[in-house]
Amino acid sequence: MARLHEHQGKSLLSQGGIETPRGHVATSPQEAREAYEKIHAETGQGVVLKAQAWVTGRKAKGGILFAQSAEEAQAAAEKLFTLAFGNFPVQEVLVEEMIDIDQELFVSLTIDDSSRAPLLLIDLHGGSGIEERADEVARLHIDVETGVCRQEVEQLLADSDIPQETHAAIVSAIVNAVNMACKIEARSLEINPLVTTKDGRVMAADCRVTVDDYAVFRHDELGIAIARELDHPATKLEQIAYRIEQDDHRGTFYFAQLPTDGHEDTNGLIGFHGAGGGGSMMSMDAVSSLGFTLANFTDTSGNPSAAKVYRAARVILSQPGLIGYFGSGSGVASQEQFHSAYGLAKAFKEMNVSIPVVIRLGGNAEDRAVEILESACATLPGTVEGYRKDDTPAFCAQRFATLISTCDREVTSDTLTRSVPDFVGSKAAMHFAIGGGSVWIDQKAITDTATQVINQFGDGLLSVSDQGVSLAVELDEAAGKDSEFIGLEIELERAGCPVLFVDLAIEGIDTEATAI
């Protein structure tokens, strides 16, 4: 669920016809001061400054301050900008008018898995302590197409002790909020509290909005850069990973960096590469229970291409300080596992990995997958081992721990650098562009064995004659065959003829992409 900041949510509510306090977003103490001056000029009152961060209990953590003068506003903002909640440094502060609250209501729209419909929760005695009053909360089912039934909300208020003169405004606010949530395809919307003020206004004093990740593609207006559930602004690597996911629809690739505070006191920092949600969670448990700290959570599944798995492994390996790489998923994958093996082998080979790698590749064609991975990586300085469906995650994690215990802890992912063969970029080499990169072939080094491998594993994409290797299909067709070329590269490598290289430089990780 992509989360919106409080100020974004309020701006949407306001567009939807729900009143919100006067407010301005500040990105510096100076802007906070200016915001105070603007608001004070209109209200003659002080302001409240609210750190914009996805955290619960913000007030108790010092994320909400008050100011009665421009100087105080500036000083308060200075304080807020030094705060960080977990991985989340405060980058924006919402400066708002103070409101004189009369009554607080709780309004929340969620999606109810049981009724397969939106569910509106209203507590007329809202605000804090909602957990203790679960029984008092009204639950209204919402029609996914026609929205909330206005009469039901009216009835709810009519039966309450809330002064009647505010009923119409409260009903409108609730109906409008539901319509707004429906329009932006919210996963959840919480207004806590919706308030009535002493001067008779009804407004949203705070709000939380999350948007359905899967619908973000049709909501450019929300400006969501990364439609992912993250509890921090996306890191550089997360942004790179998200671009990879967006550019290749074959299978899914999820990458999130995890908090690694205190990893020095554990058995070490490792890269994690899961396959399939349920199996990944179990595998994570297995390796965490042996005292390792996971630098990231990654899941490639749904029959991903070799190219996608290659890029995922490269992203994982570009995290600093890793002492090992652990991959494991459901163990009985319905997809053909050798595609993943090709992608992993290419990444490990290209980075000349020197840290231990354990990958559980169980599933269709697992024997072939394990053989590809292990033989392609046999000469690397780090040990690379593949396992099958009859090897449990616990067993693989144990094996991983054993390999790590025999290694020099000074060797980490910090020292890994990408190497490309010498013929890449040379004038004598044949080359052509494919999606996201290029293929290079060392014409001078084509042997009989290489010809055989090309004929056997080349998928009819290349032909070999006395004049050398040439493309057997149109460039357009070859462009989509990145994963087939990766397979061929690894098969040639395994046969002892490294004459073909697929250059898939990753923007943001590989500083210089090879020019054609």
Partner: protein, 306 residues
Amino acid sequence: MAIIIDQDKKVCVQGITGREGRARTRLMKSFGTNVVGGCTPGKGGQEVEGLPVFDTVKELVDQVGIVDVSVIFVPARLVKAAAIEAMEGGIKRIMLVPDRVPVWDAMAIAKHAKSCGADFIGPNTLGVISPGRGVLGMIGGRAESARQWFNEPIPGKTVGVISRSGGMSSSCGYYLSRVGLGISTICHVGGDSVLGLRIPDVALMFQADPETDAIVIFGEIGGSQEEQLAELMESGQVTKPVIAYIGGKAAREGTRFSHAGAIIEGNRGTHAGKVAALQAAGATVVDGFGDLPAGALAALGVPASS
């Protein structure tokens, strides 16, 4: 018998000419599923795997007769339209394979399904397989693998599997088969929050299936499916032995249940809450995934050596 899919059910594929649709049609046929045709707008008149392709579901139904199940392999953003087309064409059971279907689309599909007396599996389901009979979706992959991995039903020791994880649905079937149990049907209900058939619905189907002796559940944190299964057990609607594993125990701390919408659901959604509800209702809840086969053997009173 089996549930949801067997060799007699007529099946069509929407999106049959696409990359996945074409490949999965071949795999479903090779496992014995009675696929009778498919559709893709604009591709009517073509053939895929020797099967006729139509432009619309209506044409397909007019030409080959009503089918029991339509399996949908179209891009996520087109799933809602395809599902509604299938239901309006009179098909009463739909499988939505694609991942990333917008949740408001899933809710709209649910509303339509209710109004026309249809049901659906998914979205984001790996599929359903009845060993020896047929498969819907992608579960098992190649037919020879699936035949090798999953035992056919064995009288007195046959389990039905319901899983919230795609990959783990195959894993459950595989490890249960390895200890000598038979499998009636494996159903991956889907990984999304709004689903058509949910764990309690499928459990009722297994309860009514004479071939199924016990029900194995791979549950997860979040939502209320496992708690509702427990309610069915408490009320006597599900009386067959239930053996469950609930994933996500370690993820508990990192999972935000601070959201008020979740909090007022009381204990619902948490790992501990699900385990407690199922145990109180008489289910065997195993602590580790690897303990599921032994738990199933014990619940069926089958010696571990068999």
